[in-house]
């Protein structure tokens, strides 16, 4: 009997092929973000030539374009990308950790918690700027702990956590609606932001705190990305592979809530971006590598694209959350039907 000595070459080839596919996916997603970003900057109600766009970006005054591109389109696009990255990354971290696409922060109440706190801070306490983000993060963590605590019985079962989360989320949604109702000087646009999420009236000043939150919390997640990946095999297997399960889980919760709450404080809870990004990225990446970065990029694509569609493609103008909401709802229904049938994992 001869043992084929070439089996290891097959193993290496398989690994290289999958690493290549993964790099390709990242490259395509990055290109997509860049392309939509470029289109958003130059094509709106009027078309600005790419040359003018570039001149505005490097800070030269261009008559007409300086305002439309520099003041209107650029802040909007930058904020869309950052919020998309935060929502995508925070969402997939929860979905991977709890091995369930329904365990996304916007389904289990964390986004509504952060949103309710932000609305309260702005409308009742008259706060603004980074303090709003801090209040939103604290509230998001509070809701995460509350949902976790309420669903704890001999450890946390995914389904119980999701059901508790949906309940908490509904409650917090009504808190948002109540505050919006009782604060009379709110206009419809502001209200829409806190109900479905919107990047209307975006300013570049909002981008910096969001960028810092993304670097800090996102960095934390990426550093622990491999440990998080092992959780997909079940807590027991993860522990057997040397992952400290509860420590990893705490860290992931803090980082993901930080991302979601910061983005929510800036743009409102843009409906379903956190929920959709992970599963879409999962379809593209399969098991070629970690879902974190692809899901973040998918989030950015979703927000950029949905905002563009809401502004320029649909008749009338809609905030981004209305478009992502319309995309997300059918997927939610599909997922619930499918999970009922086969039991789900990401």
């Amino acid at each position: 009997m001869t043992i084929p000595s070439s089996t290891i070459d097959g193993v290496i080839a398989h690994r290289r092929k999958s690493a290549r596919r993964y790099r390709l996916v990242l490259a395509v997603l990055l290109t997509l973000v860049a392309a939509i970003f470029a289109v958003t900057l130059s094509v709106g109600q009027s078309i600005t030539p790419p040359g003018d766009v570039l001149r505005v970006l490097v800070g030269e005054p261009v008559s007409g374009a300086s305002f439309t591109v520099g003041q209107l389109r650029l802040p909007r696009a930058v904020l869309s990308i950052l919020a998309g990255l935060c929502f995508g990354l925070g969402g997939v971290a929860f979905q991977v950790m709890l091995r369930n696409p329904l365990a996304s922060p916007d389904i289990i109440g964390i986004s509504s918690g952060a949103g309710a706190a932000a609305v309260f801070a702005i409308a009742v306490l008259s706060m603004n700027g980074p303090m709003v983000s801090v209040v939103a993060i604290v509230a998001g963590l509070g809701v995460a702990l509350l949902v976790y605590g309420l669903s704890f019985r001999n450890g946390v079962a995914g389904t119980r956590l999701i059901l508790v989360g949906i309940g908490v989320s509904a409650m917090l949604q009504s808190v948002i609606a109540y505050i919006l109702q009782s604060a009379p000087d709110w206009n419809l646009q502001e209200a829409m932001r806190w109900l479905t999420g919107s990047v209307n009236g975006a300013q570049l000043g909002q981008a910096l705190p969001l960028l810092l939150a993304l670097l800090f919390f996102g960095g934390l997640l990426l550093v622990r990305g491999r440990d998080l990946e092992t959780l997909r095999l079940g807590d027991d297997t993860a522990a057997a592979l040397g992952t400290r399960v509860s420590q990893t889980r705490m860290l992931v919760i803090v980082a993901a809530v930080g991302l979601i709450a910061s983005a929510t404080a800036a743009t409102g809870p843009i409906a379903f971006v956190a929920f959709l990004s992970g599963p879409i990225a999962g379809r593209i990446v399969r098991n070629d590598g970690s879902l974190l970065t692809p899901a973040a990029l998918t989030g950015a694509v979703l927000v950029l694209l949905a905002d563009y569609v809401g502004q320029h493609v649909l008749p009338g103008r809609y905030p981004v959350g209305v478009v992502t909401g319309a995309l997300g709802a059918p997927y939610l229904i599909y997922l619930i039907v499918r999970i009922n049938r086969i039991g789900g994992s990401l």
Partner: protein, 279 residues
């Protein structure tokens, strides 16, 4: 090759406030196949989970080479002590090769790259479990027996000198049960891996164990060679069941034949209890 010594002493552990193990002592003989048996809810799974630090004991400790496993860094421990849990979860659509390479996790760190050594470990795990031809297939397409071999391959890729398995043959057809147990015996023979597993089937346990351990009421009732442990007295004590134990003509190991209330024939000493009842 493996002289790692795994010792449980005075192990008390359980869930919530229910204590399941009551001061369990056991030394795992290095380089041997140890099989743990016992009735449902006797604590055999809890014991294996405590042995592999999935549960922290409330008293007593598990020592690996004289050092408490709960004080050993998790990753370091995972390079010596492997575990295949009862129901591991495969991410949807993952291929065999990808799943098996997850076993390399404790050998990698944040900035380390995948090395030739990692590839070799994966390759030899796939080869040893005869899953190399399945490498490119998604695991959800495989049969139960194949899937279990893939999980074992993942544990092998971890290259630990001690491997713990929680009921590795559950839900498998008898031919696949034998296949898995033969594979683990090969592993013990060729790599010298210390194997510790919980098994349901007493006869398979007696056939494959070098060292058989019977647990009841959260303590070790008896341990030793299969001949010492699988006796009519032990079966009565541990399972509350009358039985005959004879020598298995295919393996020479003891084999247990249960005595129930029905379908018994009165030959020789067989079925003493029922004879008395019917008399």
């Amino acid at each position: 090759m493996t002289d790692h010594l795994l010792v449980a002493s005075g192990l008390t552990a359980g869930y919530d406030n229910t204590e399941i193990l009551h001061g369990l002592d056991l030394t795992i003989p290095p380089g041997k196949v140890t099989v743990i048996v016992g009735a449902n809810a006797c604590g055999k799974s809890t014991f294996l989970r405590t042995l592999s630090r999935l549960i922290a004991p409330s008293a007593g400790q598990v020592m690996l080479d004289g050092k408490s496993i709960h004080r050993t860094p998790s990753r370091e421990l995972a390079r010596t002590l492997g575990l295949l849990p009862q129901s591991p979860i495969a991410p949807e659509g993952i291929t065999v090769a990808d799943l098996v390479s997850r076993g390399r996790h404790p050998h990698q760190s944040l900035f380390s790259r995948w090395t030739r050594q990692d590839d070799e470990a994966v390759d030899s795990a796939l080869t040893a479990t005869k899953t190399i031809d399945l490498a490119e297939r998604p695991i959800d397409e495989l049969s139960g027996g194949q899937r279990q071999r893939v999980w074992i391959a993942m544990a092998l890729a971890q290259q630990t000198d001690i491997l713990l398995l929680d009921e590795p043959t559950t839900f498998l057809d008898i031919n696949h049960q034998i296949e898995v147990l033969d594979l683990l015996t090969d592993l013990n023979g060729t790599r010298g891996t210390t194997v510790v597993m919980v098994l349901h089937d007493l006869n398979l346990a007696a056939r494959y164990a070098d060292h058989l351990v019977a647990i009841a009421d959260g303590r070790v009732q008896i341990s030793g060679t299969p001949e010492e442990v699988l006796t009519e007295a032990t079966v009565r004590q541990v399972f509350g069941l009358d039985s005959r134990v004879i020598s298995d003509p295919t393996s020479g190991r003891p084999i247990m034949l249960p005595i129930g209330r029905h379908r018994m024939i009165a030959i020789g000493g067989m079925g003493d209890a029922s004879q008395k009842e019917s008399a």
